[in-house]
Symmetry: C2
Subunit: 431 residues, 2 copies
Amino acid sequence: MEKWRATSNLRRSLKSILNRQLSSVSEFRYLNEKRSCQSSFNLIRDCKSLGQVNAIQHRCFSSASTLVQRNPSFSTLNSDDISYFKGLLGEKSVIQDEDRLETVNTDWMHKYKGSSKLLLLPRSTEEVAQILRYCNSRCLAVVPQGGNTGLVGGSVPVFDEVIVNVSSMKNIISFDKVSGILVCEAGCILENLISFLDNQGFIMPLDLGAKGSCQIGGNVSTNAGGLRLVRYGSLHENVLGLEAVLANGDVLDMLGTLRKDNTGYDLKHLFIGSEGSLGIVTKVSILTPPKLSSVNIAFLACNDYSSCQKLLMEAKRKLGEILSAFEFLDTEAMNLVLHQFDGVRNPLPASMHNFYILIETTGSDESYNRANNSKEDQRNTNKANDGGRRIKLDGCKLHVLAREQECRSCGWLVRTMRREFGHWILRFHQR
Amino acid sequence: MEKWRATSNLRRSLKSILNRQLSSVSEFRYLNEKRSCQSSFNLIRDCKSLGQVNAIQHRCFSSASTLVQRNPSFSTLNSDDISYFKGLLGEKSVIQDEDRLETVNTDWMHKYKGSSKLLLLPRSTEEVAQILRYCNSRCLAVVPQGGNTGLVGGSVPVFDEVIVNVSSMKNIISFDKVSGILVCEAGCILENLISFLDNQGFIMPLDLGAKGSCQIGGNVSTNAGGLRLVRYGSLHENVLGLEAVLANGDVLDMLGTLRKDNTGYDLKHLFIGSEGSLGIVTKVSILTPPKLSSVNIAFLACNDYSSCQKLLMEAKRKLGEILSAFEFLDTEAMNLVLHQFDGVRNPLPASMHNFYILIETTGSDESYNRANNSKEDQRNTNKANDGGRRIKLDGCKLHVLAREQECRSCGWLVRTMRREFGHWILRFHQR
């Protein structure tokens, strides 16, 4: 019944949003243009600490360079607005302090900078709803913000939007050990959820470098992927339900905990990855897999791209159900890492390889799940016989890293940055 | 770019649909009311061949019994319409023959019966688009139909809707062995896709009893789950892209093949499970997992429900990555099966148990993946030591079936029906 109500609410709201032509005038900024720049920004991020890129960048639609103009139909904040918010949230949750505004006006990479004069910190769905209802009636622009760790500027204002930051909504609502379903508020920091689940014998289906700061609501709104996507799929798979507040303050309760609920339209998927442009996610229910005890990593080099493809096919087939990550680097990316960080070295022989692959396996049986790949080349394609599962490859030149210490110095570096290293349990079969 | 176009197309179409108030006047009937009756229909289905239920039933909203009335604003077919369709599709694809119409007007369980006078068999997306564009302009009601194997009457007309059956669209468009991504037309029969993939060393992420007749477009439109859901997740996870034709004839090209594409709104999810009410799915791209060589099944009985829950938790934890199915039956369901089918017997001791569990494992290593559960009860909770992985349970009474022949006589019966049996490769560790 709740769901049907949600459907009809959304239908009404979509209609009203569409009628107001969301792409030109909207309470939520339409952020897709930023995301289309993501791939080039990643490279810029990698170079940042080399001092190559420091200037605040202007946002643009992909390659076009037209500046976004502030829509004059939006109002500007006045003292009545501030009074209303203080009455609603209390003095402490209405932030006008310049230093704190500086932080939330700037993205993690210091590439974008907004000029918001107001940060609101609601503690409940009802407060979010009332904020949005008020802003809607006053035609005040709003930008939803979580951990503000995004790389494409989606969580900071473009102009003077009111920032609604949900970081005060950080309660774990329930966890069912039988089904592995966690229900929590949107402001929960990913790492806190990971720790909580670890104590229960479960893991989060997503893990990424920003986990110490990013929030689950933001993860859902940006459809964050991370290191475990190859094994556990995207958030479209793992998020079972959502609660979200629409721009007009309507609350959509789609917070189901049934893994296969196909009654009606599955509207929650619209919110996953929509970057807050359809509403602010306030609660999430998520399916979490059990923690498996055995994690292993291997690092390999290939001379050509087709060998990498063959390796992926073989890894999927031979490691099958225990394959939990398959990460790809080319020489350029590898060199960047080697030059960028002290004490990092290529664990493979000095000769230059064109491509590198990091394979991780995770399984429930330690004696068995060894990401143990035999050293093979075109002249020797037989499986080695010293135990463990091996990938057999015809026509590929593989170099195998099988020492923990060596792997620790390079594995996951590119994706998780160094501070995340402790997370990976590296155990290797001695060859 | 294609995706952006699709988004703006859908936005326009949604707007036009919403403006016309889809719930009261729409080219596609709003089928959700039927699905809400699904659980009760399943039981009726089980009893059907006992002759208990034969009458054609009236559709209703859940428990309410209001009859749906034909909306008088829809037109009725005339000879000009028939001429148009014959000109568009050719004589052979415009069916008015009464015998053939009888079949497509009736659902698989012979519970619902429409009175359509016209069956159209388009062979391409363009033909589907032209049909819908024409029907929209003439205000003719349409019902999309695939294999017509649904149990809730979603694929047959309520009144005199034009039936658009996509079974002639059955081409496999591409298959990428590296990524495991299959792209095909919506009319492909599931079993044909399974066979095709089997030859390539892959499997479909979904498998269900109706696979010999059901079509992938219908599977997607109904968000069919089936036997592999616990392992491979729902179609929201596995469907990477869709092509669909909206009611006004617009073609939405969302046929991506990227596993993690989070640019823009992920509109395809709206179509998964929407039962054709938003548009007719014409092409599907789907991620297929590699075929793993070792499949095992165990059949167990539990005395109480909490033991079943504990068993699920232990199965997820101990069998972890190789667990591929966990099916639950209560005594009533078991008795129904035993009485319904000749030659089926309970493989477990004669004493009555309250609950039965069927566990299937699928893995890449035959010597290892044994769904081998030790015979344990409250007095003996130690793991047995004769090899294979075992589930250890405290406080649960388990009876273990470990003989292929015995299992063959009951496994999966309730969900897949007898003709599907050959599919399951049963191999057991001899105890």
